[in-house]
């Protein structure tokens, strides 16, 4: 369905709904609707036009026109069209109708909107706190423009994680707390599992322990060309994806066309990142199953990619390559040659490893029919990347919305119908080889020329939405340009954001033994800071600390007054 048909369809069904529509280019469509009609229109876009929710953002525009703006961004993957659906909310009455009952994938987006902007999604089935920490005051919404970036809330001594009450069938079950620190989850995340024997009958999640307020920092302190360096620090594995996506969003908003060579270099780096990320995942997944031989071999094979990136950029990770308008370093002929040689070796070794792993019965026994996510659920929760493609949802930003060098390249995306972890493994294995083939094509076709475009002042109040296929799935950034040489609003939707919402579905009726690999199967990327642990108070026999005791201990050990 193209833009005209979509508008016509909405006009026909809901004649009064559309207030405005603009189409700055053939790939973007901005629609404005009233709060009262947004559910109808969203339902039409999601269920009739079969679009996918990729992002939502709430923006405080009160300093300019005394409104809040809520934007839901949909993607019509087959038509290379991104539709932004906007509603305007008066700050005096910050309520919007929730879309979660129509689009299950909107769940976290709306909870985040409530936490950070104080816009209440009415009718949300699960309006618990999601992003801000447990001790954050109820009435401070950090992304509102009147909250300073360095605001520190008063110290609170009694807080409770916002876990839900057990459902009827979970009341008899034992509670198994996994996290906030758990050896197999490399990052802090708290899963509360309700188990009967070995079987998981329910699960609950509390994350965002490492929310760092990067978006707020960007809107208040940093400038356009400083943001790529902090964007890169969002993730330790696919950092380049974030800086590239941010730059692409700004370039799109400001109509900057970057030089072809820069496009190729960015794409090569993106694919190199995919190669090492997928090998890293394969190793970790095997490790979750106690198969450390595969872990060690996969990481050994992966290591030369890190050496390559070090040669290209000076760093193994966090490359500092991207700026708005292009890239900072070239790939010369000698390096290109080395990339090809290294990749040849990696390809050969990965083939051996993958064929050994695929033929291994014990791996198959652990991965088949485990962590099932049906095609239907995958679409509803709007999962992306290998998780979606393994459930038969054939989406890949590189193919659906070719960006950078991808329009010139010839490749096929990997899709599996198995819906289980085995399928996710096969998808990632195939993608590793595709990535290597893509890098070869790019090096062969690489155009000569500049690395940076001329970038003039970036006009304010433009919007850019960029989506890049990260190793974990599509990563989306939304930028509204601002007047003081910095984004007015920058929203990052990393690929794990939708995937994590699918975890409860995958865990249902699986066993405790499956837990690490199920969570691992989405290749989760939480983030990387620390927080005080809470201890199980459910089981009577455990030595139990009260929250106050724990807090007192942590305060004693870390030194009073650090925060006050």
């Amino acid at each position: 369905m193209n833009a005209q048909n979509l508008i016509a369809g909405i006009r026909e069904k809901y004649p009064e709904a559309l207030l405005a529509s603009t189409q700055p280019n053939p790939f973007r469509l901005f629609l404005t609707v009233d709060r009262e009609n947004i559910q109808d229109v969203a339902d039409y876009i999601f269920n009739t036009a079969k679009a996918r929710l990729i992002l939502s953002a709430a923006t405080d525009k009160s300093p300019i026109n005394n409104t809040y703006e809520v934007t839901y961004v949909f993607s019509l993957d087959r038509d290379n069209l991104i539709v932004a659906l906007k509603e305007v909310v008066p700050p005096s009455d910050p309520r919007v109708p929730s879309l979660t009952n129509i689009i299950p994938g909107a769940d976290w987006h709306e909870r985040e909107m409530r936490d950070l902007m104080g816009i209440v999604p009415e009718g949300h089935p699960d309006p618990r706190r999601l992003v801000v920490s447990d001790d954050w005051p109820e009435d401070v919404f950090p992304l509102r423009k009147d909250v300073p970036y360095n605001f520190r809330p008063p110290r609170v001594t009694v807080v409770k994680p916002p876990m839900r009450d057990p459902k009827e069938h979970e009341k008899q079950a034992t509670i198994l707390n996994i996290g906030p620190f758990f050896p197999t989850l490399e990052e802090p995340a708290y899963f509360r599992l309700y188990v009967e024997g070995e079987q998981i009958v329910g699960s609950d999640y509390r994350g965002f322990f490492a929310h760092r307020g990067i978006e707020k920092l960007t809107e208040t302190v940093l400038e356009y060309n400083q943001v790529p360096f902090i964007a890169e620090r969002i993730c330790g594995i696919c950092g380049f994806v974030h800086s590239a996506t941010y730059c692409m969003a700004v370039e799109q908003a400001a109509d900057i066309e970057i030089p072809p060579r820069a496009k190729y270099i960015r794409s090569i780096m993106l694919e190199l990142e995919r190669v090492h990320s997928h090998l890293l995942w394969l190793g970790l997944a095997a490790h979750y199953l106690g198969f450390d031989t595969v872990l060690m071999q996969a990481w050994r094979i992966r290591e030369p990619v890190m050496w390559l990136t070090e040669q290209i950029t000076g760093n193994r990770k966090t490359y500092g390559m991207n700026l708005v308008g292009g890239v900072r370093r070239d790939i010369d002929a000698e390096t290109a040659d080395k990339i090809l040689k290294t990749l040849a070796k990696i390809e050969e070794e990965t083939k051996e490893l993958v064929s050994a792993a695929v033929e291994d019965n014990s791996l198959k026994m652990r991965l088949e029919k485990v962590g099932m996510l049906s095609k239907e659920d995958a679409r509803k929760i709007c999962v992306v990347g290998p998780t979606a493609r393994a459930s038969g949802v054939a989406i890949d930003a590189r193919q659906d919305r070719p960006y950078l060098a991808y329009p010139d390249l010839d490749f096929k995306i990997a899709v599996q119908e198995g819906c289980d972890i085995w399928a996710r493994t096969l998808v990632r294995a195939e993608e590793t080889f595709t990535a290597i083939a893509l890098i070869r094509q790019m090096i062969a076709k690489m155009p000569a020329g500049e690395l940076m475009a001329e970038v003039g002042p970036i006009p304010p109040w433009r919007e850019g939405i960029a989506a890049v296929e990260a190793p974990r799935g599509e990563c989306c950034h939304y930028v509204i340009t601002g007047p003081d040489n910095r984004p007015y609003r920058w929203r990052v939707r990393a690929s794990t954001y939708p995937q994590l919402q699918s975890i409860p579905k995958m865990l249902d009726n699986m066993s405790i033994a499956d837990f690490p690999i199920i969570v691992g199967s989405i290749d989760p990327c939480f983030s990387c800071t620390e927080r005080v642990i809470t201890v199980d108070t459910q089981s009577k026999k455990v030595r139990t600390y009260t929250h106050q005791e724990l807090l007192a201990m942590s305060q004693r050990n870390s030194g009073q007054g650090r925060r006050s």
């Binding site: 034992t174 024997g197 070995e198 979750y288 106690g290 405790i512 690490p516 089981s539």
Partner: protein
């Protein structure tokens, strides 16, 4: 006199040499992983480190405190029944049955200690351990009965004497295979380290242990490995008998090393199974072992 000397030797082997064997296995594992691996004596350093580390206490119940000691003691005791160079230090009529019982003490201790710790992870681990015990221990018992039936004796030394002077029997080979297959769960190695499963339940029953008690439990796992492999090679691969006791003992040691390395290699080429998959697997192993027993009764 020989029996006393061998007895002391066995105890020393099971206690002092076990960490060395583990160190060698760590090297083997590292080679399979394309790693360099820690020094061969690393396991001694680890145990020494745990010995001087602060004991976090855990629950401090009697069971919790006693379990590690009894666990290691039971393994040492089992060491007295292990044939070394064809000699069983503490042999008496019916020693085989006693041995089967003693061998179950260690996992039971692990379970009791785990239960006493009260951690939900330990409960899950103990559950799994008990389920595994139910399917693994019968295999051990049946394979011993196969040897007993063949030798018409419940005394381990007699069985070995009988077997060393005769060619391999089909029932004994089946028994040996079945016994080898239960080594992985018995010593807690992949694919059957289900009860400990570090990535799933953080070492299950061991989770609350620390310091000296943890050292004892770890040590008993290393020792148990030697005891079981020594039993396997002593009972099912007694050849060749050279006539010189010293040479026989040296040969036994080589066989033990080969056996443990085999177990380690198996552990490195599989993923961990789930408990229900493991039980299904061992049901088959039990059937195999019982087939061996039937053949033995038929005189094969």
């Amino acid at each position: 006199m020989t029996h006393v000397v061998i007895g002391v030797f066995n105890i020393l082997l099971v206690l002092i040499a076990a960490p060395l064997v583990d160190g060698i296995l760590r090297k083997v594992r590292a080679r399979i992983h394309s790693r360099q691996g820690p020094p061969v004596f690393q396991t001694y350093y680890d145990i020494a480190k745990l010995m001087v580390k602060e004991d976090q206490g855990g629950t401090n119940g009697f069971l919790f405190n006693a379990a590690p000691v009894v666990c290691l003691a039971s393994i040492l005791m089992a060491g007295l029944f292990v044939p070394m160079g064809g000699v069983v230090p503490l042999g008496f009529a019916g020693d085989m049955l006693v041995l089967i019982y003693i061998l179950t003490i260690a996992p039971v201790c692990m379970c009791l200690g785990g239960m006493a710790s009260g951690s939900p992870y330990a409960y899950v681990g103990v559950n799994r351990e008990i389920m595994l015990l139910m399917v693994v221990e019968p295999v051990v018992a049946v394979t011993f009965i196969v040897t007993a039936v063949k030798a018409h004796s419940l005394m381990l030394a007699n069985c070995i004497e009988r077997y060393v002077s005769s060619p391999p029997d089909i029932s004994m080979i089946i028994g040996a295979i079945a016994f080898f297959l239960v080594l992985q769960p018995e010593v807690g190695k992949v694919p059957f380290d289900i009860a400990e499963a570090e990535q799933e339940i953080m070492e299950g029953p061991l989770i609350e242990y620390s310091g000296r008690k943890l050292a004892l439990l770890k040590w008993s796992l290393y020792s148990k490995q030697i005891v079981l492999v020594a039993l396997l090679v002593g009972t099912f691969f007694p050849w060749p008998r050279t006539g010189s006791l010293a040479l026989d003992i040296a040969l036994t040691l080589v066989k033990i090393l080969i056996g443990t390395v085999l177990v380690e290699v198996v552990a490195q080429v599989f993923a961990r199974l789930k408990i229900n998959q493991a039980i299904r697997y061992f049901a088959i192993v039990i059937a195999v072992a019982v087939t061996g027993l039937v053949l033995a009764v038929m005189g094969l």
